[in-house]
Each structure stands twice: as structure tokens, then as C-alpha cells.
């Protein structure tokens, strides 16, 4: 009987717990504490934290990919195969070696860059077909080898396709568009420039990340944290630096919750008391036709300018058009509630499931968290300084405090402007004025993300 218990214990997963998993359990508890008891973006951080917990348990049938073709992740040549047709393999087994050509401008010596990569089995099964011969050139995405097994993939393998195939962030944008009133922005179009200037943090953080040794794709993904727009950050990093996705998502959503702590000292430092007391003229009412024209205008113009951001901008404005047209109430309700809520659960848990100890417990995670503060800080500075700059020319002065709302973080950043404005003048309400740059920041972040995607090639 004791032997039976011993045999059963060997079937359990207790022995598979690693020290990285234990550390990550601590990280999960911190994230859950921040979300549940401190109210830090709980809608995202709770699913992320729970996904991270699942990622750091020795699970079975949860994240494993299904068997099938293994495709090349870049253009190159298969150097050699280590398996033959009909051979049984397990997940992680070495199947062969793959070589990528050196990046343009790099030295011809292959030892100067990591050009040789292992081809590993993603699932257990039988090798049924070798699609390419050794030293045969292949393009990115081409099928290299076929591994077959009757077992399907794990639940989160399929859910995570929503991030990998860039489905979830645009769907979240559909809901954001349906929830956003662009009226304050249309009433005072000048505030679009505040949203544009608030991308300064993105640009400066890119330079900072690059100087710390990150590559162009990684730097862009880290820098976009400064846009304070979670779906855009996930969209960009899943495209340019998927291995950094968990750290970037956690940093982006944590700092969004910390906006009321990060922004006020910078706002007070860069503005005088008289500037903070500036009262702005009431916004004019904006009609339905004007709002519909705005949605169409932004869709056409932004997609023509940066086609790479088409899915984000397109879905954002589709959601907004549904909201403003007034004849699609059921669709608006679905976008504002069911769709965005369901996708948020899947998005959060899919991000969390990538937070394995091996990927998260690295020095670069700390660097990303540090660079995230830099990004938020400089984005705040950019918006504030633009407001002050515009005041040199405009007749109706802008309260610079609304400039800080140019970092998206809707509507948190606008609320910070309101609170700081009330501290300077208890009768000065800036909330609606701050909503203009706040929603402009969403468009600005999508445009700069589109710029990075358009100008960077993933080989």
C-alpha cells in the first residue's frame, strides 16, 4: 500500500516545481495584491496574474501546441537534420539546425552574429515528412518538417493565437472606440497637438532602450509603454519583440494605474501657479454629423498615412462610428460590454500565460520597468510643454495641466488634470477640456506604433 502511495506521488507534479516557479508565485501574489487591494487596473492585472500563475505550474494540456508542420521563423537554410522520417520525438527534442543570413551591414563572419538556430519539436509525435533537404533555402513561414500526433493542442495554445495573430488588441480598440466620446477633441481640435507631443516619451525611451543594448524592435516595443495604451503596446510588442511581451504588458498596465503618482510632481514642476489657474472657455456642443465626419476622416487619413496601424485605427473608429450613428444600439452595447469584456479576459490570461519564470526573471525585465517610468515621465513633459508652447500663439489660453492628459491612459490622466486644476483653483473644472488630449493620445500612439511597424522589417 505504501508502495502504491509512492507510485501515485511519482505521478503528481510536485517534483516538477522549480525555484523560478516559486519566485513567480511571489510575483503573482504581488500583482494580485496590487490589483485586488490597491485597485491597479484590476480588469487586466487580475487575468494577467492568474495567467502567470497557470504559466508557473507544471501543467498538462494547457499551453502545449498541437503537432503539425514546423515552419521557419526567418529566411535561411536548413543546415542539417538530426531526425529521420518515422522517428518518434517529444516536445523540445532537437530536430535539426537552421542558419539565417547575416543582417545587412554585419560582418561576413558567421561567428559575429547568432546565425545558427536549433529546430526543436514543439509537440510529441512521429516525424512524417521532411519538407526541405539540407542546405536548401527557405523563406520565412515555409514548412520545414511534419510531426504528427492525434493529441490536440492545449486550451491556451488556441487562446493565445488572438495575440500572435493580432486579433485581440484591435477588438479591444473596437470597444474603446464605442466607449469614447471624441466630442471634446472635435470642439477644440488644437488639443490633438497635445496628444501628438505626448509621444515624446516614446521617442526618448526608444533612444534610452537602444543605448542600454536593446535592438530596434525591442526598443520600439519598450518605448511604446510611454503611449500608455495597453492594446497598442501588446500589438506592437507581439509584432516586433514577442519575447518581451509579458514584461512590457505588466509595466504598461502597472504604470497606467500609477499615473496619479507619476504625473502630478512633473505637472507642478513644469507649470507656474498662474498657469495652473487658467480657466478655459466652455466647449461648444458638437453635432452628430460632425462626429461621424470625424470618425471617417481619421479612419481614411490615418490608414493612408500608416497602413500598418490600419487594424487598430480601423477598429477604433468603427466602434466610434457605431456609437455616434445612433442606429446600431445593440452593436454598441455589445462592443462596450460583451466583446471588450470577453476579449479582456482572453487578452489578460494570454499575456499572463507567457510569464514563465525563464522569460520573466531576467535583468531585462527590471530595465523595462525602469524605462517604463522614463517613458511615462517624458510623455507627460511633452504634453505640458506643447500646451505652454501653444499659449505663445493662441488667444484663448490653454491650461497646461491638460497637456499631461496627452498620454492616453483614458480617463485616468484626464482625472489627474482635473484634480491638479482643482488644487490650484477649486472652481476650475478641467476634466472635459482634458478629455480632448486624452483621446488624441490614443490616436497619436497608434500612429507612432504604425510608424515603427512600417519602418521595421521582421526578417
Amino acid at each position: 500500500m505504501i508502495q502504491d502511495f509512492f507510485n501515485f506521488f511519482q505521478l503528481t507534479a510536485f517534483a516538477d516545481v522549480t525555484w523560478q516557479m516559486l519566485v513567480m508565485w511571489g510575483v503573482v501574489l504581488v500583482l494580485m495584491y496590487l490589483a485586488v487591494y490597491k485597485g491597479f487596473e484590476p480588469l487586466l492585472l487580475v487575468p494577467i496574474a492568474f495567467g502567470a500563475l497557470l504559466a508557473n505550474l507544471p501543467t498538462a494540456g494547457l499551453v502545449n501546441p498541437p503537432s503539425g508542420p514546423i515552419r521557419s521563423e526567418a529566411a535561411g537554410v536548413v543546415v542539417e537534420w538530426k531526425v529521420s522520417q518515422g522517428q518518434d520525438v517529444r516536445a523540445g527534442d532537437l530536430l535539426g539546425y537552421f542558419q539565417t543570413p547575416p543582417p545587412p551591414g554585419a560582418s561576413a563572419n558567421p561567428s559575429d552574429h547568432d546565425s545558427l538556430h536549433e529546430i526543436q519539436a514543439k509537440a510529441r509525435g512521429k516525424v512524417t515528412l521532411l519538407h526541405v533537404l539540407p542546405m536548401q533555402e527557405v523563406s520565412k513561414g515555409q514548412s520545414l518538417i511534419e510531426v504528427y500526433d492525434h493529441e490536440p493542442g492545449g486550451l491556451f495554445y488556441y487562446i493565445s493565437r488572438g495575440i500572435e495573430w493580432e486579433i485581440f488588441p484591435p477588438l479591444i480598440f473596437l470597444g474603446v472606440g464605442a466607449l469614447t466620446d471624441f466630442g471634446p477633441l472635435i470642439a477644440r481640435p488644437l488639443t490633438l497637438l497635445l496628444g501628438a507631443a505626448a509621444q515624446l516619451g516614446v521617442a526618448i525611451t526608444f533612444v534610452g532602450a537602444m543605448s542600454l543594448g536593446f535592438s530596434a524592435g525591442e526598443s520600439a516595443s519598450i518605448a511604446i509603454i510611454g503611449g500608455a495604451d495597453g492594446p497598442t503596446a501588446i500589438f506592437l510588442s507581439s509584432k516586433l519583440a514577442p519575447h518581451l511581451l509579458p514584461a512590457i504588458a505588466v509595466a504598461a498596465y502597472s504604470y497606467m494605474a500609477l499615473v496619479p503618482l507619476i504625473q502630478p510632481p512633473i505637472m507642478r514642476l513644469l507649470t507656474t501657479k498662474n498657469e495652473r489657474k487658467i480657466r478655459m472657455k466652455s466647449l461648444r456642443p458638437v453635432g452628430k454629423l460632425e462626429k461621424l465626419t470625424f470618425a471617417l476622416l481619421v479612419t481614411v487619413f490615418c490608414i493612408l498615412l500608416v497602413p500598418a496601424a490600419a487594424s487598430l485605427i480601423g477598429m477604433l473608429m468603427l466602434g466610434n462610428f457605431l456609437r455616434e450613428c445612433g442606429v446600431t444600439e445593440r452593436l454598441v452595447k455589445a462592443s462596450q460590454n460583451e466583446i471588450i469584456n470577453i476579449v479582456t479576459i482572453f487578452l489578460g490570461t494570454s499575456v499572463g500565460i507567457t510569464m514563465t519564470g525563464e522569460r520573466f526573471l531576467r535583468g531585462e525585465t527590471l530595465m523595462i520597468i525602469g524605462l517604463g517610468v522614463l517613458a511615462f515621465g517624458f510623455s507627460t513633459v511633452g504634453g505640458l510643454l506643447m500646451a505652454k508652447f501653444l499659449n505663445l500663439f493662441v488667444r484663448e489660453k490653454i491650461n497646461p495641466l491638460i497637456g499631461s492628459a496627452g498620454v492616453s491612459a483614458v480617463p485616468m490622466a484626464a482625472r489627474v488634470s482635473q484634480v491638479e486644476g482643482l488644487k490650484a483653483d477649486p472652481n476650475n473644472h478641467l476634466l472635459m477640456h482634458a478629455m480632448g488630449p486624452n483621446v488624441a493620445g490614443v490616436i497619436g500612439t497608434a500612429v507612432i506604433a504604425g510608424y515603427y511597424i512600417a519602418t521595421m522589417s521582421v526578417r
Binding site: 543582417p103 545587412p104 551591414g105 554585419a106 560582418s107 559575429d112 552574429h113 477633441l185 472635435i186 470642439a187 481640435p189 488644437l190 490633438l192 497637438l193 496628444g195 501628438a196 507631443a197 509621444q199 515624446l200 516614446v202 521617442a203 526618448i204 526608444f206 533612444v207 537602444m210 543605448s211 543594448g213 535592438s215 530596434a216 524592435g217 516586433l240 519583440a241 461648444r284 456642443p285 453635432g287 454629423l289 460632425e290 465626419t293 470625424f294 476622416l297 481619421v298 487619413f301 490615418c302 498615412l305 500608416v306 488624441a440 490616436i443 497619436g444 500612429v447 507612432i448 510608424y451 515603427y452 519602418t455 521595421m456 522589417s457 521582421v458 526578417r459
Partner: protein
């Protein structure tokens, strides 16, 4: 670590490339310029569109966009602003509020129930009637 030539808007940067500081600054400068120009262009078009809409729409839309006009005071003698309800009805409502609620009250909004709601209320009434309260 290899350094790559300055990217132009028409060229592409390799995702794994490392840029020198001056190249990096130029790259970011172009990015910021594009964002400012894009949003600036939208702002300009919106400003012009706003002028057009303001010159044509206000006469039709202005009354419906002022919620203050639909409210009235509970003080007898205050002129009602909503043309849909007669002054007599306002007086009756104000008097009823004055009699029923303790202290001074202020009527902020008076709305008529949409017709559809009457049918749903009838449905609810029938459902409740079918249950015996014990």
C-alpha cells in the same frame, strides 16, 4: 553589435538592428514629426469643418443641446421652459412635489415615459399577477 546606416522613411530598419545615437535621434525625430504633422493635419481639417458646421447647424441644433432648458424650479410661479408640457401641468407637478416631499425641493427634470415602456410595464404587471404573494 553592428551599426546600420541611417534609415530613411522609404527604407526599413531591421528589427534586430542596433542604431548609433545620431541615427537613432534622426529616426525618432522623423517619427515625432510624422505624428505631429498627422495630428496637426487632422486638427486643421477639424477646425475648418467646425467652422462650416457652426455656420450651418446651430440654428437647428442649439435648443436641443441645452439641458438646462428642460429643467424647471419647484418654486410656484417659475415659467416652464419645455414647450412639450403646459404651464398648468408644471404647476400641478410642482404643487404635488411641494405637498408630498418634506422641506424645499427642486425639480431638475421631467420626462415622459416612452410609449414602448407602457407595454413592458403591462407585461410585468401580468407576470406579477400570475404569482400569489404569500
Amino acid at each position: 553589435m553592428s551599426t546600420h546606416p541611417l534609415p530613411s522613411i522609404l527604407a526599413t530598419v531591421d528589427v534586430g538592428a542596433k542604431l548609433g545615437i545620431s541615427q537613432d535621434l534622426s529616426y525618432q525625430g522623423v517619427g515625432m514629426a510624422i505624428v505631429l504633422l498627422a495630428l496637426g493635419a487632422i486638427a486643421l481639417v477639424l477646425y475648418l469643418l467646425g467652422k462650416v458646421f457652426q455656420s450651418t447647424v446651430p440654428a437647428k441644433e442649439a435648443p436641443s443641446l441645452q439641458p438646462a432648458r428642460t429643467s424647471t424650479s419647484g418654486v410656484p410661479g417659475t415659467a416652464p421652459a419645455d414647450a412639450g408640457i403646459s404651464p398648468e401641468t408644471f404647476a400641478v407637478i410642482a404643487a404635488a412635489v411641494y405637498m408630498e416631499l418634506p422641506g424645499m425641493s427642486r425639480i431638475v427634470e421631467i420626462r415622459q415615459s416612452p410609449t414602448a415602456q407602457v407595454w413592458s410595464m403591462e407585461g410585468r404587471r401580468q407576470i406579477f399577477q400570475s404569482h400569489r404573494v404569500r
